[in-house]
Amino acid sequence: MSEVIVITSGKGGVGKTTTTANLGVGLAKRGNKVVLIDTDTGLRNLDLLLGLENRIMYDLVDVVTGRVPYKKALVRHKKYETLFLLPTSQIRDKNSINGQQLIDVCNEMRGKFDYILIDCPAGIEQGFKTAIAAADYAIVVTMPEVAAVRDADKIIGELNRADKSHIKLIVNRIRSHMVDAGDMMDMEDINDILAIDCIGQVPDDELVVISTNRGDPVISNKKSLAGQAYNNIVGRICGEQIPFLNFRKKTLFDKIKQILHV
C-alpha cells in the first residue's frame, strides 16, 4: 500500500523541493520504491535537484491529459534505482492540472510504489489545491523567520479546511549560532506557535547548496549535518523513534563555561 505525502510550505524558498528530493533519495536508499511528483508546473526544479534534467521526455500534463501512460513519463534515477521522478511541464501553467486529475494518477500508482511524494508549489492558489488533493498526509516545511511561520500557519489552516488534518512539520535552515544568541526561534518556539507535530529540524548547511549544484541531494553526504537531519526524518517517516539532532558544536567558550560551571 502506498503512502501519498505532499510537501508544502506556503512561502517560497523555504526548501520544499530540497526536502522532497532528500526524502525521496533517503526513502529509496532504504529499499523503498519511491516516486516523486513535481506539481510546480511552469517552475519545475525537482529534476534539477536530482540531476535528471536531461532525461525528461514526457511530463505530468501529458499524463493527466491522457497523451501517455504514467509509466512512460517516469524517469528512473541511475544512482538510486528504486527512485522515480514524474516531472511536470515547464511550458504550461498551474491551471493545466486539477486536483481530481492528480488523484486519478496517484490512484493508478497506488500499490505499485511504497511512497508517492508530491512537491507542492508556493502559494495557496490552484497549484496548491491540486497538489494536496491526492495526499494522505502533509509535511509542512517552514523556517525560523516570521514570514515563513505565518505562511505555514495559513497553510495548516487551508489543509484543515480541505480535510487534510494529518500534518507534520519540518523546521528547515536553522542557524544554531543565531539560536544560541537568542536571535533566531528554535524548533520548540515554532512548535509552540503552530501546535503541529515536528518530524524534524534541519540546520542551514552550505553543503546543501553544493550538492544542489551537483544535482545529488545532500542526504548522500555523510559529513553533512543537514544530510544527517534529513536521514533522521526519513527514519521517522518509516516509523522509527529517533531523537532530534543537536547541531551545536562545542566552542572554546562552551568548554570554559563547562569547567567554570556557569
Binding site: 525560523p144 505565518r150 556557569v262
Partner: protein
C-alpha cells in the same frame, strides 16, 4: 554574568528571536480569527456606545484586541473609566 557585561555595552534589549515569537503569536490570533480591522473598529464603536450610557470613558486610551486564552480566542477590551454617570445610578435605584 554575560548579560551584565552586555548591559554595560548597551545590549540589554529583548533577544530578537523572542520578539519574533511574541509578534507571531499576536498576528496569528488575528489571522486565525479572520476578523478584519474594520470589524474590530465597529465592535469598538458599539462598545463605546453601550458603555457611554452608564459611564464617562476615555475613548482615546481605550484598547481592544484579540488575545490567546488557552486554545480559544478572547476579546480583550481595556476601557479607562473617568466616572460613573450619577443619573443612571439614581434612576436604577428608583426602579428597585
Amino acid at each position: 554574568m554575560l548579560r551584565a557585561v552586555m548591559k554595560l555595552f548597551g545590549h540589554d534589549d529583548k533577544p530578537s528571536g523572542k520578539i519574533a515569537k511574541d509578534r507571531l503569536r499576536i498576528v496569528l490570533i488575528h489571522d486565525r480569527a479572520n476578523i478584519s480591522p474594520e470589524i474590530v473598529n465597529h465592535i469598538k464603536d458599539d462598545i463605546i456606545k453601550v458603555i457611554s450610557h452608564y459611564m464617562d470613558i476615555n475613548q482615546h486610551d481605550m484598547e481592544i484586541s484579540l488575545s490567546d486564552d488557552e486554545n480559544s480566542v478572547a476579546l480583550l477590551a481595556n476601557i479607562p473609566v473617568k466616572r460613573i454617570k450619577p443619573q443612571i445610578m439614581s434612576s436604577r435605584n428608583m426602579h428597585r
